[in-house]
């Protein structure tokens, strides 16, 4: 299972290195979303206050695109079916694709965070850095896991573009809430203190644990004909 996962993750990342879809298209998209948020919110104080939430909202929108892309690669020339025909362990496919997606998401989140510092004058400080990094990691894993799970379900079907957001967004709500609050605590947005953030990190941890197990079990039946 883990051997297959490694293979598939390596393959996905190599495809990304070659095609540069994330760097050339998704990152600019996320950037413009961040700018648009500022337009919608007008005043600097409001933008500063909600900066962590905007970072994670932009992440969610980008997640939808990344997931679509991750599975478009597979369905373009019948690779999904070839994998099924080759009896590749579905749990391995799931973990591998989730791993590659997580790597791409992590890069994206880093960029969005820098953008938040630049555009929204969010302030990083040393005391919150541990919380910030662990939050990024946990939220990334959570998003990648559920994204892969529902992306795989939607991949083979008609109307996948519309089905995926409908299925995916309600599920990632806890990640949005948890990650936003933890990030607020880490950045000290509107007077939040670092210790406020840890319960939220716990929530993210539970989410990751549940969906890594649930997803590994569920992915096979979901993609099977």
């Amino acid at each position: 299972m883990f051997r297959v996962a490694r293979l598939i993750a390596a393959k996905d990342l190599r495809i990304e290195v070659r095609s540069r879809v994330v760097t050339n298209q998704v990152l600019p998209f996320a950037t413009i979303v961040m700018v648009m948020f500022a337009f919608a919110l007008k005043t600097d104080e409001v933008v500063e206050k909600v900066a962590p939430g905007l970072v994670w909202l932009a992440t969610l929108f980008s997640l939808l695109i990344l997931v679509q892309r991750a599975f478009a690669v597979e369905t373009a020339d019948g690779a999904t079916e070839a994998m099924r025909a080759a009896g590749v362990d579905p749990a391995g496919i799931f973990l591998g694709k989730a791993l590659a997606l997580a790597a791409q998401l992590a890069v994206l989140e880093l960029l969005l965070l820098i953008l938040a510092v630049v555009l929204y004058s969010a302030k990083l400080h040393a005391g919150g850095i541990v919380l910030l990094v662990t939050t990024l990691l946990a939220a990334t894993c959570g998003l990648a896991l559920v994204g892969t799970l529902y992306g795989g379900l939607a991949a083979g079907v008609r109307g996948r573009e519309t089905l995926l957001p409908l299925l995916l967004l309600p599920v990632v709500a806890p990640v949005l809430i948890g990650a936003t609050r933890a990030t607020e605590a880490a950045l000290g947005t509107s007077g939040a203190v670092v210790s406020d953030g840890w319960p939220w990190l716990g929530l993210l941890g539970v989410f990751v644990a549940l969906f890594s197990v649930g997803g590994t079990l569920a992915f096979g039946p979901l993609i099977e004909e």
Binding site: G78, P170, G178, L210, E225
Partner: protein
């Protein structure tokens, strides 16, 4: 990978007659989804609904704190109760479908029927809740954990119904939707907990504080009738929907027999 693109699948009963249906048979009415039991159930539902209107709107007194708006609760409590029962039933039937020793498409259809009825009640309960909120708090929506969770359930199960409609074989539909239903069981407590935690940090009034009303006996009785009436309605709807789905599946199989015959005749054997 599909080899046949020209062949429109005879999916619904409208474009295909089973090969053995002669015009004479169609004229005579065949038994439908109703049985003596469901007819009694239906009458009981209607009677209890009438009682609900009578007690809810006329006989029960107004609340000291909430005034007349308490009457909305007689709808709200019943529908929200049924909605959650419906999703519980969907989850359990999905489990029964996935478990090898009890697997049967009947479980899948019960799960689907229950989710569909549940979605209706979820919509009704959100509507009634919003109106009640408007009258009690002056706003349609509060970010209470229960309210928000209910809204998420609503969307989640609309997604579940969309997954059911994706097509494929009945078995595939069953497996796929059962897994999605069980994943929703993972998701919903997380949503509820996270919203609760979220509101907890800077909390204003929540539903649980304001619903602590001192209940008059007649009000309690009206609530009781509401639970009974909506539960009966739920059972009636699920039974009928389950039977309609069973017939739909049977129709698909009939269509298959017919299509098989046609397909074989292509060979000229």
């Amino acid at each position: 990978m599909t080899e046949i693109e020209t062949s429109a699948a005879p999916a619904s009963e409208t474009n295909i007659k089973p090969p053995n249906a002669s015009p004479v048979e169609v004229v005579s009415r065949r038994p439908s989804t109703g049985t003596p039991f469901t007819r009694i159930l239906g009458i009981a539902t209607l009677v209890s609904m009438a009682l609900l209107v009578l007690f809810g709107l006329f006989l029960s007194p107004e609340d000291i704190v909430q005034g007349e708006s308490v009457r909305i609760l007689y709808i709200h409590v019943g529908t929200v109760w049924v909605a959650y029962v419906a999703f519980g039933l969907t989850a359990l039937s999905s489990l029964a479908f996935l478990w090898k020793r009890t697997t049967s498409l009947t479980w899948d259809r019960i799960a689907g029927a229950s989710a569909e009825v549940g979605v209706l009640f979820m919509a009704l309960t959100l509507f009634a809740g919003a109106i009640w909120g408007r009258l009690s708090w002056g706003k349609f929506w509060v970010w209470d954990a229960r309210v928000t969770t209910t809204a998420f359930l609503f969307i989640t199960y609309i997604g579940y119904l969309a997954v059911r409609g994706l097509g494929g074989s009945h078995q595939q539909r069953g497996r796929r939707s059962a897994v999605v239903a069980l994943l929703a069981v993972l998701e919903i407590p997380l949503v509820h907990f996270s919203v609760k935690l979220w509101r907890g940090l800077h909390q204003d009034g929540s539903v649980s504080d304001t619903t602590k009303v001192k209940l008059h006996d007649l009000m309690l009785f009206s609530l009781f009738i509401s639970l009974i009436a909506f539960t009966l309605l739920f059972v009636w709807l699920v039974i009928h929907r389950q039977r309609v789905l069973a017939m739909q599946d049977a129709m698909d199989d009939k269509g298959l027999d017919y299509a098989l015959e046609q397909r074989r005749s292509e060979a000229g054997l």
